[in-house]
């Protein structure tokens, strides 16, 4: 059977499927029918320096083949994570990636410094692109200069892999990818959500309390695949593809476009056990086509 191991240098994952940040909590509090150890890795909800309650409701709404969210980085904060969650999730039998966010550079740094003192974290995903934070979380993701400053600071703090998670809401995703790599990023993940809004015509007001939210789900997959395709040609680091993945064909699409692994977000809400269910189909597709490993199809659509 084809080898599903994927090389996300400096990380190696036993398979290419992870849950996307913000859709699997901290990996500890999952329904009984989900076995986190079957995933190639676990990516936590974004952690900030202090606990956050998140934005006022309503903060989610369905759209055509997608959804908008303005959760606003609701999370328990890095200290409580270290105390209560890390001891549990570091033993789940899969790679653990902690996603970090903040409103200021110093907040990102503090979160990472506290985590550096702990064991069990295999890498960091840096959320520079959350559109739902007022105080400036966004600016890092849309400005090459600010992103470089941020990633350089973080690079000084850790020797563990840094995954920079890019925002799709930019004129040139290549420029952002290049900036992130120049600043010391090991791996890129993309995309975070697209900025979107819905109006409640009954109430004659925006549905979300924050007006704008992040669009995710199958609706955005073509945008994400295009950006992965472009970034693959622009930089030399491994890529994690994210956006609208719903089935094995979608995973193959991302791999062929140039991703070495993927994260599944919104579709987890239909079935949080979805990810591992796709692995047998991916393996048999590779077998049928005569591929011996995942690595043979990564970026194959560029040839």
């Amino acid at each position: 059977m084809a080898d599903l191991t994927t090389n996300l240098a400096p990380l190696t994952l036993k398979n290419p499927i992870m849950p996307a940040s913000g859709t699997f909590g901290y990996g500890d509090d999952l329904p009984d029918f989900v076995d986190i150890s079957e995933f190639g890795g676990m990516v936590t909800k974004s952690l900030t320096g202090t606990p956050r309650e998140g934005n006022a409701p309503p903060r989610i709404v369905e759209t055509s083949s997608g959804m908008l969210n303005s959760i606003g980085l609701a999370n328990i904060g890095v200290e409580k994570f270290i105390e209560e969650k890390l001891p549990v999730v570091r033993n789940k039998g899969t790679i653990l990636i902690v996603n970090i966010a903040g409103s200021k550079m110093s907040e990102y740094c503090r979160v990472m410094e506290l985590l550096e003192a702990e064991s069990g974290v295999d890498g960091y995903e840096i959320n520079v692109s959350c559109p739902n934070v007022k105080e400036g979380g966004m600016e890092f993701g849309v400005s090459e200069k600010h992103m470089k400053m941020l990633i350089r600071e973080l690079r000084d703090i850790t020797d563990k892999p840094i995954i920079t998670k890019l925002s799709p809401n930019v004129t040139s995703i290549q420029a952002m990818a290049e900036a992130a790599v120049e600043a010391g990023t090991d791996i890129l993940s993309l995309i975070n959500t697209l900025v979107g809004a819905r109006i409640d015509i009954e109430k004659q007001r925006p549905v979300l309390s924050t007006i704008f939210g992040g669009l995710s789900g199958p609706a955005i997959k073509p945008v994400a695949v295009a950006q992965v395709f472009k970034v693959y040609e622009a930089v030399d680091v491994p890529i994690i593809g994210i956006g609208g993945i719903a089935n094995a064909g979608d995973v193959l699409e991302y791999l062929m476009a140039g991703a070495s692994a993927v994260e599944i977000g919104t579709m987890n809400y239909r079935d949080p056990g979805l990810g591992p269910k796709l692995l047998p189909e991916i393996a048999s597709w590779l077998d049928e086509q005569g591929f011996e490993s995942i690595s043979e199809i990564i970026g194959i659509a560029h040839e």
Partner: protein, 262 residues
């Protein structure tokens, strides 16, 4: 915490019991030992496409291996559900959420439902009846066509309609106040309610004035139903936790804890 299942539950029956209101029975033996009154299930109404999210429904009844929900066909997902037939299966996740407080000592249970809101209270009624408590039920609806629970020998059943076509002519809250005013001083009640939020707010006021503890079953749009998306938040009075998750911290809340009942 009860165990949570994801299962393709065979449809036993799916019957229209009132105007666009259906009773769906599913075979889900896993649930029997886990379910507590007030919990809900999350149904994937279309495995092949829209809507994207599952749809949440209170478990209205459970008996050995059969769970029952009562729903109104009002939109894309519920209209798909109305097409379910015996022989089909429904992909469900559950049982989900917390549950009603059932240890109420000598208090008399008051179950107050508005429209479809009676659904989650049926299972509570069953609980009390099987423990030889006689609950007092209040069910209000627009008109007679919307009433699907019109007979109950083991409970004191009070029906009302806005148009007077069945039972008391007026709001369920008016009937409830009349009832409470007629009770002897010292009678202790425990109230439970589910329905439109303005109704629940009015009931909260009635109960607060009379110092009757009240639990509400709350509805919010849900992306996941299991605490993963943080989307179904509701504002509460706890200073250290401003937002609760309806799917996980709820759907049952002490009325005093929520801000919308103020």
């Amino acid at each position: 915490m009860s165990k949570i299942f994801l299962t393709d539950a065979p449809v036993v029956s799916n019957e229209e019991v009132a105007n666009r209101i259906y009773r769906l029975k599913l075979r889900a033996p896993e649930f029997a030992s886990e379910n507590r009154p007030g919990q809900f299930i999350n149904i994937l109404t279309n495995p092949d496409g829209a809507p994207l999210w599952r749809r949440p429904f209170s478990i209205a009844r459970i008996s050995i291996d059969i769970i029952e929900i009562i729903y109104k066909a009002i939109g894309i997902g519920t209209n798909q559900m109305a097409g379910l037939q015996s022989g089909d299966a429904a992909n469900i996740i559950g049982p989900l959420g917390n549950s009603f407080t059932v240890d109420i000592g000598e208090r008399t249970p008051l179950l107050i439902g508005g429209g479809l809101g009676f659904a989650p209270l049926v299972v509570l009624r069953d609980y009390f009846v099987s423990r030889t408590k006689r609950p007092v039920l209040f069910i209000g609806a627009l008109n007679a066509d919307e009433h699907y629970y019109t007979d109950d020998p083991d409970a004191d059943l009070n029906l009302s309609t806005d148009d007077g076509s069945l039972g008391f002519h007026g709001l369920v809250t008016e009937q409830l106040e009349q009832y409470l005013d007629e009770q002897e001083a010292g009678t202790e009640f425990m109230a439970y309610s589910c329905g439109p939020e303005p109704m629940m707010k009015a009931i909260a006021h009635i109960c607060r004035d009379r110092e009757i503890p009240l639990e509400l079953s709350i509805e919010r749009e849900m992306a996941c139903g299991i605490g993963l998306c943080q989307g179904c938040s509701i504002e509460q009075h706890l200073p250290q936790k401003k937002f609760a998750l309806v799917c996980k911290d709820g759907p049952i809340f002490n009325a005093m804890h929520l801000t919308f009942t103020d």
